[in-house]
Symmetry: C2
Subunit: 562 residues, 2 copies
Amino acid sequence: MTMKTSMKSDIEIAQASIMKPIVEIAAKIGLEENDLELYGKYKAKISNEALNKIKTNEDGKIILVTSINPTPAGEGKSTVTVGLGDAFNRLGKKVMIAMREPSLGPIMGIKGGATGGGYSQVLPMEDINLHFTGDIHATTTANNALAALIDNHIQQGNELNIDQRRIVWKRALDLNDRSLRKVVVGLGGPLQGVPREDGFDITVASEVMAVLCLASDLKDLKLRLSRMVVAYNVNKEPVTVGDLGVAGALALLLKDAVKPNLVQTIEHTPALIHGGPFANIAHGCNSVIATTAAQKLADYVITEGGFGADLGAEKFLHIKSRCAGIKPEAVVLVATIRALKMHGGVEKQDLAKENISALTLGTANLQKHIETIKSFGLPVVVAINKFITDTALEVKTLLEWCEKEKVPVALTEVWEKGGEGGKELAQTLLEVIGKIQNDFHPLYELSDSIEQKIRTIVQAVYGGKDVEFLPKAKKQLADFEKFGWSHLPVCMAKSQYSLSDDPSKLGRPIDFTVTIRELKPSIGAGFIVALTGEVMTMPGLPKKPAALNMDVDEHGNALGLF
Amino acid sequence: MTMKTSMKSDIEIAQASIMKPIVEIAAKIGLEENDLELYGKYKAKISNEALNKIKTNEDGKIILVTSINPTPAGEGKSTVTVGLGDAFNRLGKKVMIAMREPSLGPIMGIKGGATGGGYSQVLPMEDINLHFTGDIHATTTANNALAALIDNHIQQGNELNIDQRRIVWKRALDLNDRSLRKVVVGLGGPLQGVPREDGFDITVASEVMAVLCLASDLKDLKLRLSRMVVAYNVNKEPVTVGDLGVAGALALLLKDAVKPNLVQTIEHTPALIHGGPFANIAHGCNSVIATTAAQKLADYVITEGGFGADLGAEKFLHIKSRCAGIKPEAVVLVATIRALKMHGGVEKQDLAKENISALTLGTANLQKHIETIKSFGLPVVVAINKFITDTALEVKTLLEWCEKEKVPVALTEVWEKGGEGGKELAQTLLEVIGKIQNDFHPLYELSDSIEQKIRTIVQAVYGGKDVEFLPKAKKQLADFEKFGWSHLPVCMAKSQYSLSDDPSKLGRPIDFTVTIRELKPSIGAGFIVALTGEVMTMPGLPKKPAALNMDVDEHGNALGLF
């Protein structure tokens, strides 16, 4: 998205690309038409039967793509993920890409799509960026059906003695809508329900989305749904979906959403796009079902964690890997010279000018993430995603810095050149895998207290000094221990822009304290969310939303979508 | 749904049926695989190109299925619609069925599915009754994206001077959720938007759904969306989607939803299931695009209007027919002996007992609907949908009553026997079409005032004495005249259970006055909604919602869905 040098936009490049029928793409990875549920010619879900059939296949190797802390300059992590997959494909490797489904909220708002950019895109990008195969809509529906069933339970006599002041289940929409953050529902008298405070989260921040992405299959999905805590009763004990007796109905609503979606890149590399939790307020990885299916179908799986390594990679390694028994072979850390210069103090409008001292200063952010990945016992390769304004001296400076830091590095030009522009990175990875010792281990144990887990993440991953728990969070720590939830991993909700919880602190801040204002039990997903700073679970729209530029012609072609 | 005599449930019959690949069904009506966008093996959307290609075909004949006022005894209108299509098919006619998509709200709540019953069902019923091809979710998303864009416009400076107390655009969910009827949004301080009163309608009551169902194509859809009134400004002038500049974005969100969905019956008759407005609070008919496409693809099209003839048929004939230039050849009026006995004063638990006097009393309801259809200049055939408890004397009594009234009548047994059970009805219709004079004309002119249109419907269709406009509605009549909206047809929002606006008045009430409490401009849809009595635009859930019985097994099979 930042790599544009030609006059063509992402959507123009995508619409000019000729896709192969998805059955042909499936054939490459050993799937027959019968293993697919087609959604048009170019999208398909993989059937439950096919997922069962491949379970005895050998596991492919996982490569996790992450990045430095994102800046308005753009890093192109999704673009590198796609281009790297295409590069492996060009090198004759049996490869699949596993990525998240984009949320409509940011698409209608401010952000580009999450389907890569330039000549490294997954297709059909319009469909993937709009309703795709309906997974997120099914998630929204299950979430809100549950909310309606909770309020109806209270209205109809409240057999479970739910304390209506202590309902923790929020409604959800897959939109950016700040007006729904804090609402009062049930107004209008006794026939319209019980008035209470409520709020809407964006669907990709909901526990149903996390459950969908961490479930191993439909049976596990139903179990996880039934464990979700929706409220506390008048005795302050948790009330679950299982108590309400509606886990079956919610699982039924998700029976198709749980199947992974097969699409292709511009270069016809197979890609699974499935599940889309945000990485700042949720766990930020595509579904376990998609990643493990890709492992069974290919020798190499390129996947990503959202935002920077402090969020997406940390959560991939502590939550998803642990949950699914996945061990990555190597981690790619994407950086751009422009973004590093921003971390070194340059303003966005000055990025086109050479600035070696700012670049050198900005490498501190990259350095911290390299240290973090290494502390997990994993090999790391830096990918410098080239941009037209990068000067030769800047590139040389950064390459030399990597050499000094003894970290393997490769230049990528995937936006302009597709897989060809990712070959150097792919070759570096193939050298690294097997050569550099892989001693993958988590940074905290599940037996640590929740407080200790948070402290470990803040100190070891963010490089912070300390953690402060506000009174509400302190009380919750005690409650959660009492409820037997202390053994769960932690899902941090934190600004993506900084290693700290203050988005204005770029580079490598030190001596900072992270403030935990509230905890949220996601017992179905199987983690405790720790909310820091001002992180919002429902974004807002900007002054000029992207929706103002969107259109469709009379033939049904999307216009103005990036 | 009421016709069950075997031990098998609707879902068991459906799941035991063997579907043909949808490409085979499409071939029957002259469509190639290339004309379809497949959603799995058994569902497909018809492409825009195919819809264009068939435009020059000759028009088939339309048969509209409607019924007496529904009762808890059940009438089986959808079941008769499906069985009648199958019967035409058995008689060697080229036939298609055109029906609405079911809403998830009632499915999770209390009602059976809307896909027919017994051996007269459209398949795959689980998919059609759950998310189907995502049309309703796209509608919900477009509706709520617009709501977010309105609130964002105000938050970001309110260039259009929208009076935040006069926003008429409501949010929507495809669920039964009484707690969302009246809400306050935008709480939490200046960063969370502007606090205001708001509410959610069920999606199938939304104007976006009406627009989707009345648009002739994507271009017309966009025009209609741009005309939708969302609020009034500080000068009390209407503010439209066009003023906000987001009609293109909303049309983009609906670009696939606007294409009709092809499925099949148990007997492999092709059916288009597309669009799903409720009939009590919206206009109650499947999409114009589906009905007109079916007309181009088949010689006979069997379609329905929701609930009784006072709602679904009146709206089909005054709104949809006028908008699309459709003229039905004949109308089927479905009745059951059980339901007529309820209209004659029998309680549900006593329906199994023979009761000739109650039946005779109940025919008054049937009689009014026959008169109404005839007043539109249309031939009408009564379909007596047989039930196991009907006695020979009851059947004889009703047949003789029809003979006395000089109305053609046929017995149907479509629940048990599929198309075979609808042959008598099909043959009666074939005789009637062409023989009985068809002099179709609306009961009011568009040039009549809104007040006059409402009065005509109340007197000529409901058999009421008068209309009372509450002060708010009176004020709106004047305003709407000023805004130039008087030429639009009227969409009545009224209880389905009675010819009057009081659901307790069964049979054929007389001397009643209908109260109009409020009007709602649906300028994009192209009608004025008149709200009577206590009609709710967001239903609630019952004490034991159907969701409690729903489940899915580990293979993905739906359980407990009817």
